[in-house]
């Protein structure tokens, strides 16, 4: 076993993942428990196959003879309390139990690993892309970990981080697909991570991952990523002792979490706190507009409306002239811009829920939170222009979009006040769209919703009858 050690000094997350993928065979996903067992089984099996990896670790863990790198990794993933890093004995504890399970099921096929595969597959591309920035952090953390523990678990750290990253990305992917599902629709069984068990390092890695993913993702998606990060936030904690060394290395530039609150509130339409029954379109806009609009009325209806509007606006953006400054997606006035304002609103309540991160990394790239959402639309604008554009021109476009969305948000506020309400409702949005000429006697709001919004939004906005005489959203 010790002879066939690879030339690589340490197996990287990429190689580990490759090994996992190679050993895994296709199978339908099973329940989580069985998945875990299967994963352990597959890990142990693959570990036995790839002796070089196992040998490397077996050398390190001389005292724990039976412990394979896979089981170790799995244990760390499952439990990984803070103290476990400093006290290796605690890590040993969960090992025997999976060992027993493994030995009993060693005969069965290796399909268990496949349980992870469907989740890993969609995230591999994203994870691999994200691993690049995270890998450095992983290695640094590994060295720190090695310092902390003599028989460091650097290899286990990496794969653990990788697995958690993949799980995070997979969960992120899940949320991307259906950002605004009502709670009843979500299946808790699909949740990958046990909320209570979370290691500090994993949390730090997830934070980094999230930041990088947020930085990579367009601001339009930022509306969804906060939703994705919500479950992780409860898990991520500031764990000593490795939080300090990590602080300096974390990608401080991307504290997009606070930025999220401001992004996408461009549209005056009001922030979309979450989707509830709102018939109005929602616009994803600059958070700042959303911010002060949200102060007045943070209602799901509004946010829904805004989101719808933003979607509608975005959809219409290509239609609208790119040179139009007044493109604010709000009410479909035209191309897109107005939507942005709305979207920023929904983000506003979400960031408030996120716990403030105690460790603030050092220098971060100067990101004006008010303009973050607009930059997405400016990029879209420059793309639609089909010709190179000066920076100054783009800045002017951004300014005009800003004003436009602000205007839309003010209008929405005034309309709501006019009706004697404090909350912006879909009726206000419809009135705004009427004034813009998007909604008239021939074209109603529902028609626009059907035309431009994806199905998930449409089912939240347009009442539909379900079984048992229940209408959602309720009228």
């Amino acid at each position: 076993m010790a002879d066939s050690y690879d030339g690589d000094s340490e197996p990287t997350t990429r190689t580990l993942l490759r090994r996992v993928l190679d050993t895994a065979d296709t199978r339908t996903p099973r329940r989580r428990r069985s998945a875990r067992v299967g994963y352990e089984r597959a890990l142990s099996e693959s570990a036995s196959n790839h002796t070089d990896y196992g040998s490397g670790l077996s050398r390190i863990h001389g005292n724990v003879e039976e412990q394979t790198p896979r089981t170790l990794l799995k244990n760390i993933l499952l439990t990984a309390p803070e103290s476990s890093i400093m006290r290796p004995e605690s890590v040993v504890k969960p090992v025997p139990t999976p060992q027993v399970v493994q030995s009993s099921r060693r005969d069965s096929s290796r399909g268990s690993l496949e349980l992870q595969l469907p989740e890993l597959e969609p995230s591999t591309t994203l994870a691999l892309g994200l691993l690049a920035p995270g890998r450095r952090k992983q290695r640094l953390r590994l060295s720190v970990f090695q310092q902390g523990v003599d028989q460091g678990l650097p290899l286990s750290q990496e794969p653990r981080g990788n697995a958690s990253a993949s799980s995070l990305t997979s969960s992120l992917n899940l949320t991307f697909a259906t950002p605004l599902q009502p709670q009843s629709v979500q299946r808790p069984g699909l949740a990958r991570r046990p909320p209570t068990h979370r290691a500090v390092d994993v949390g730090a890695f997830l934070q980094d991952l999230r930041d990088t993913s947020l930085a990579l993702a367009s601001p339009g998606d930022s509306l969804r990523t906060p939703v994705a990060t919500l479950p992780t936030d409860t898990v991520l904690e500031d764990t000593q002792p490795f939080s300090q060394p990590l602080v300096g290395r974390s990608p401080s530039g991307y504290h997009s979490l606070p930025c999220l609150s401001h992004t996408e509130v461009e549209d005056a339409e009001r922030a979309i706190s979450h989707r509830t029954q709102s018939s109005g379109p929602r616009l994803q806009n600059h958070s700042e507009y959303m911010g002060h609009v949200a102060q007045r009325s943070v209602r799901t209806e509004k946010s829904k409306r805004h989101r719808e509007m933003s979607e509608a606006v975005e959809a219409k953006e290509p239609e609208g002239s790119s040179g139009d400054e007044d493109i604010s997606g709000r009410t479909g006035k035209g191309p897109s811009v107005g939507m942005r304002d709305l979207s920023s609103e929904p983000l506003e309540p979400l960031p408030t829920r996120l716990p403030p991160r105690a460790r603030t990394p050092g220098p971060r790239p100067r990101q004006d939170p008010h303009k973050t959402g607009l930059s997405h639309y400016v990029k879209l604008f420059s793309f639609s222009a089909k010709m190179p554009m000066e920076k100054k021109a783009l800045e002017m476009v951004e300014k005009c979009l800003d004003k436009y969305f602000q205007h839309l948000c003010d209008d929405l506020e005034v309309f709501a006040a006019h009706a004697g309400r404090k909350t912006v409702k879909p009726e206000d949005l419809e009135l705004l769209m009427r004034r813009q000429g998007l909604v008239n006697d021939q074209v109603s709001l529902h028609v626009l919703v059907e035309r431009y919004l994806p199905l998930e939004y449409r089912q939240l906005l347009i009442p539909c009858a379900f079984s048992g005489n229940s209408v959602f959203p309720a009228q």
Binding site: F415, L431, R435
Partner: protein, 141 residues
């Protein structure tokens, strides 16, 4: 056939009505432009006056539709001064002007009401007094 004729006649009537309205607007715009021209000593061309009058007419249509929408949005069937103020919110000076006028009007209305009330009271007292006098006279006699 009759219905068609009626429909066509009605349409023609509507059309001629619109034309008359447009002409009235055009005349008013022309008068105003003449005033401004004499003030600033800059002549206005006919096309300018025609463009302004067309613009005014279309804007009036838009205003009317907006006012109706606002009133309906506030769940009312009558257009209110609130609707008008909402319409004029864009330009601050116009909004201020309208608000001031509104206040003047309300003041005037309240004054009128007060006057009417006073008049009614006087009439009542006057009518009551002669009635009492008449009653007293009757009793007396």
């Amino acid at each position: 056939m009759e219905v068609e004729e009626d429909g066509a006649a009605e349409e023609q009537q509507q059309f001629s009505y619109r034309q008359r309205l447009k002409a009235a607007v055009h005349y008013t715009v022309g008068c105003l432009c003449e005033e401004v021209a004499s003030d600033r000593e800059i002549p206005f061309s006919k096309q300018t006056i025609a463009a302004i009058s067309e613009l005014t007419f279309r804007q009036c249509e838009t205003f009317a539709k907006d006012l109706e929408m606002f009133a309906r949005h506030a769940k009312r069937s009558t257009i209110n001064t609130e609707d008008v103020k909402l319409l004029a919110r864009r330009s601050n000076s116009l909004l201020k002007y309208i608000s001031e006028k509104n206040e003047e009007l309300t003041q005037f209305n309240t004054e009128q009401k007060a006057k009417k009330k006073k008049k009614l009271e006087d009439d009542n007292t006057k009518s009551v007094a002669p009635a009492e006098a008449a009653a007293a006279g009757k009793d007396g006699s």
